[in-house]
Amino acid sequence: MIALTLGCGLLLSACSGNQSGGSAGEAPAADGKATVTWLNILHTPSPPTETVLNKIEEATNTNIEFSWIPDASKEERLNTSLASDSLADIVTLTILDNSSVRNALKAGVFWEVGPYLDEFPNLAAISPEMRTSASIDGKLYGVPMQKQVARNGVIIRKDWLDKLGLEVPRTTDELMEVAKAFTEQDPDGNGVKDTTGFMDRSDLVYGAFKTLSSYFGTPSVWSVSEDGKVTPEFESEGYIKTMDYMKQLYEGGYINKDFAVTAKTDQQQNFSQGKAGIYVGALFDSKNLLNDARGVQDNMELVLVNDITSTGNESDRAIWSTTNGVGGLLSFPRSEVKDEEELKRVLKFVNDLMSEEVYALMTYGIEGVHYTADEKKAVTITDTSLWEQEVQPLAGSRPKEPGYEIHDANPLKAEADRLIQENTEFAVLNPMFSLESPTFSSQGSELQKIITDATYKYILGKISLDDFKAAVSSWRKAGGDQIIAEYEAAYKAVNG
């Protein structure tokens, strides 16, 4: 049935493909503002309300019309939008390794913006490294969304550490000890053994696994040797060590038993309800975790840690960065943005979005309504639930996140920002990020399932190390070898 519907959709779209588009070329609306349509990704349950949007429209002198795609179904929706040519003036592309997206980019569905960036002050400020990272075959098919390079770390219950007389852990062994103590020594003092060390979710990348793997010296996704040989992360020693570490956590019960099926919202909720004391994820999550704990775990104190290593040597510090700081591309389809003049108009709009004024609107909301600020531009959110409704949905669409003067006055958020900034220095980049492998684009995520499944099974003690290695070799046979060969060739072409 799905295939039939798919076929149906394709045929119908083939017939109607030429009628859509052109909205950017329409005459300005009655109020003198031009209209920009934007196919955007929504990271919150519901889209933003008009309040803040109106202010942004004023500041950029543009009418913005959003079509939202929920983050959870972005692959599916983007693919169908591309296939049926129902795009908008601006399309937010966050999955650059998806084969349809890559093919569309390479086929010239979108404008190449590289030559135009320097005409606009905020866009000209995008660093050359960022531009290279976001390029495909040396061409930049959209404005890169600038994010922090590496934002992950470990969040620990400080009040529990103090209660049990433990130090903030600096090595993975100490972290294990803390997890063990949190599980066995009743840190919440209710007399029942109902806590665990870690609270993790079913995500090997944004959950605990990948961050821990960095501490064990695992490369980020791929590694390249000096003679240009490419190896996947899961063939490294660090990856195996991380699996063993997680296995030890699981067997000892120092992690929630169901982490392999736990969703992010459940994970955060459980942590805030005091079911566990260690959270590994984005460091800025700490603020929300503490907010949600209000009234449930009022004595919760959190400490953020970003300098754990397996050896204890400062020189071994590392933290992964999958996307190299590129949050995605804001791309402009040729079918909607008809000519250079329009392209410049839309680029000007993106440029304006990067101003401090609009950044403040998209991050904190309207002063006096959502937040108050002191003379040092330190912001305190006054109405959290209103902020969550009206501002937070917009925050995911900011074209640039770091590098503004205005900042959060919340000490936890400030600390998180500081540590994330510090992470940049130790970031392990994915060397293949901007390189091309056709097999990876088309089958990469399917092949990755082989590894993901085997990793979980190993951690849960269902398969042995030999079985895991067998899974890796079946990955190689099913297309992995080809991916490696393609990456090696691409790497050679770029680096000589």
Partner: protein, 321 residues
């Protein structure tokens, strides 16, 4: 009748083949109102069912949406080769067929049993309220049912595991063990659909001639005997028809339901054609390949339904066509 017809046959002089088109146009003219009445349905099928089938053509191409059907390169049977040589194929086929077999064995008889039992309930109000209650789960979405199961079955604080623990038994991680996926899947289907599926059987039972029951009673049949010898034979055609329809949907196991249950640890027993098409086609954008998988699935379904129909006819039933 046959004896009377036989002598007539030699009298038909004109060969059959030439007469057929004539007959068609004649019958068209004769019954033009009837044909006019099926026209909307006919048009519906052509536009919404047959025309989209043209899209299947992309399973012989490396289809790229922005190139369109006319520009995309033709690759012959490349995608079929990939499908049949990939190790996933065996897994998909095995999982799909096994789940289907389990559904037929464990789910299919239940609504019949329930309908017969409901039929025996004499108190009208009681019967009606039971019926209403067992229909309700049908209107819940799979998302809700799977979430409820999740809350009940998870290891950290799920009710079922707490009970197991209180009884001194080992906790079971239902959600992550492959051996529990299939029972869980079937149990959820039973919970959701068993009540709703009784409707047709109940309707069939109401038309059973009451004289048959009276006659059976005269012969001294007990209630069980009446069920076995009167009710069940009376609804047998309905059962057969529904079974054939069910087989037609063999590979249509319900994407949403399985997709919600899948995770890294139970994928080897849970991945079915529908979920695979979704990930390969819509998420990874391999439109041609997933169309191939879908085409294969459709063909298998067609063959199965034809076989089942023939089998039904062999056993003296009507079949669906």
């Amino acid at each position: 009748m046959k004896a009377a017809d036989a002598p007539l046959v030699p009298l038909q002089v004109k060969p059959k083949k030439k007469r057929e088109p004539l007959q068609l146009s004649k019958s068209l003219r004769k019954h033009k109102l009837l044909y006019l009445m099926i026209l909307p349905g006919f048009i519906y099928f052509v536009i919404f069912k047959y025309f989209p089938m043209g899209g299947l053509i992309i399973s012989f191409q490396d289809y790229q949406p922005f190139l369109g059907v006319s520009e995309s390169p033709w690759v012959g049977f490349k995608h079929f080769e990939r499908l049949f040589t990939e190790p996933t194929f065996v897994m998909l086929l095995r999982n799909t067929l096994l789940l289907f077999a389990m559904e037929i064995v464990f789910f299919f008889p239940l609504p019949i049993l329930l309908a017969v039992m409901l039929n025996e309930v004499r108190h009208k109000l009681f019967k009606n309220s039971i019926q209403t209650m067992i229909y309700i789960p049908h209107f819940m979405s799979w998302v809700i049912i799977v979430s409820i199961t999740y809350v009940f079955l998870n290891v950290d604080g799920g009710v079922v595991n707490q009970i197991l623990e209180a009884m001194g038994l080992q906790k079971i991680s239902f959600l992550t063990s492959p051996e529990w996926l299939r029972p869980m899947y079937i149990a959820q289907i039973i919970w959701k659909e068993v009540g709703w599926s009784t409707i047709i059987y109940l309707a069939a039972i109401t038309v059973v001639d009451t004289q048959l029951y009276e006659a059976a009673e005269m012969d001294g049949a007990t209630r069980l005997r009446k069920m076995w010898h009167v009710t069940l034979p009376a609804i047998r055609p309905v059962i057969i028809t529904l079974l054939i329809l069910k087989i037609g949907n063999t590979l249509e196991l319900g994407f949403e339901h399985m997709y919600l249950l899948l995770n890294s640890l139970n994928r080897e027993v849970g991945e079915i054609f529908d979920t695979y098409i979704y990930t390969a086609g819509l998420k990874n954008g391999q439109l041609s390949f997933s169309t191939t998988v879908g085409l294969f699935k459709g063909l298998v379904g067609l063959i199965l339904v034809m076989a089942a129909n023939r089998l039904a006819k062999k056993f003296g039933e009507d079949g669906v066509y």
